[in-house]
Symmetry: none
Subunit: 232 residues, 2 copies
Amino acid sequence: MKAGPDIAVVASLVGDPARANMLTALMTGRALTASELAQQAGITPQTASSHLAKLEAGGLIEPEKQGRHRYYRLTGPDVAHVLEGLAGLAERAGHTRVRTGPKEPALRRARICYDHLAGDLGVQMLDSMRRQKLVRQTKQTIELTGEGKRFMAEALQIDTDALAHPRRPVCKACLDWSERRHHLAGTLGAAVMSRFTELNWAARDPTPGSRVVNFTRTGEKRFAALFGSEQA
Amino acid sequence: MKAGPDIAVVASLVGDPARANMLTALMTGRALTASELAQQAGITPQTASSHLAKLEAGGLIEPEKQGRHRYYRLTGPDVAHVLEGLAGLAERAGHTRVRTGPKEPALRRARICYDHLAGDLGVQMLDSMRRQKLVRQTKQTIELTGEGKRFMAEALQIDTDALAHPRRPVCKACLDWSERRHHLAGTLGAAVMSRFTELNWAARDPTPGSRVVNFTRTGEKRFAALFGSEQA
DNA sequence: TTCATAGTTCGATGTTAGCCGAAGCATTAA
DNA sequence: TTAATGCTTCGGCTAACATCGAACTATGAA
């Protein structure tokens, strides 16, 4: 035993299946009401209330009161990052859910990871950015090059200088649980994803609690033109 | 309905305080025995055995059998990465612990491991042998090169061909408990150690039951000349 | 051989914590 | 005001699991 943070308390919070389902549902980055989370977890509202109180006390989620609803969201991207990491370990050990649905392949192809793109396409994008020298990556840290800034401004109309944030890096590597390789997180990752949505290149699956991202036909073409795997 | 890996099973493994303490102890990247981990967690060996089996089944740790010891280590850096992330969340929520522990420095520097040299100097020796291309190591197996045979004959008057044994390999990698890295075992490891004793380079500590090996002044010099860390 | 040590398995025990029914606020709509 | 909805608190039930004593296996030491 050494001095340091007690990981057991926070891990045990995630360790309960009902709470894990709630947290997974919140991985969309959207805020959900207590009732919605109860339904996602498959438990009664009064049980959910107990779980939500514990998650809030543990600093994993935060509430926002709105009328007679209570909306909950993850307290930050770092929570989502840890959840994604746990998913990676579970995937490697073969601990998949018993009820694996038909949306599984779509989830692996493209999904929301808190507020940025994950899955096959997310990994593909960061790969391409590295090849095009838009970013320099050393271990965990990613840095945008001058060419990268120009690219973002011209191709996606994103002013990268405006993405600076006091508590969050512009670029960050996030380990993808399905691909087991990095995709792009940070404020730039979020900006790119929301731009995709604005341009109607992609849209979140309307199913409640779904993390799937569906690309449109033209969106897929534009994405491939910018970040295709045959791109130099 | 639900898709993707089940993070709850992995998180619940980390969620138990005893198991969390074990994993934290393994965060150094070094391997620890089951008893050591039991002591670290403050539980009895039989309880620890149950926990270690679960952690192994969950793919978080892997064992390496060494005599009657079982050394456990994390299965990879990604496990450590997730634990680090959990620690970050716990830190933010304000959950911490405390404790310490002293040890024997001489024992860590040089000691007998069954019949060969272990400790800092033992690990140093194998490191140097690898650098000098006296041995080729692939995972657990070590093989003496032609140059290695010549070296042993000239520098230490050891006829390596005479070390063949029906039930024991000439070279073997043995996991060092103080350094948590490999040192040289096998008949060659035993021969080298006894040669050190014959040459009066080193002697076992006279204290009954002590495993400490004391190097003489000249012995230390000769050893450094052959296996010093600045050696090419 | 005989003894000691490292580790595991089994069985019994006790605490914990998730779960839901019922009742109790709180907010909104009529 | 009355009713309806969203959420929480309380109480009791139940299942899960961490824990340890005792016994067993395996390996090394004398």
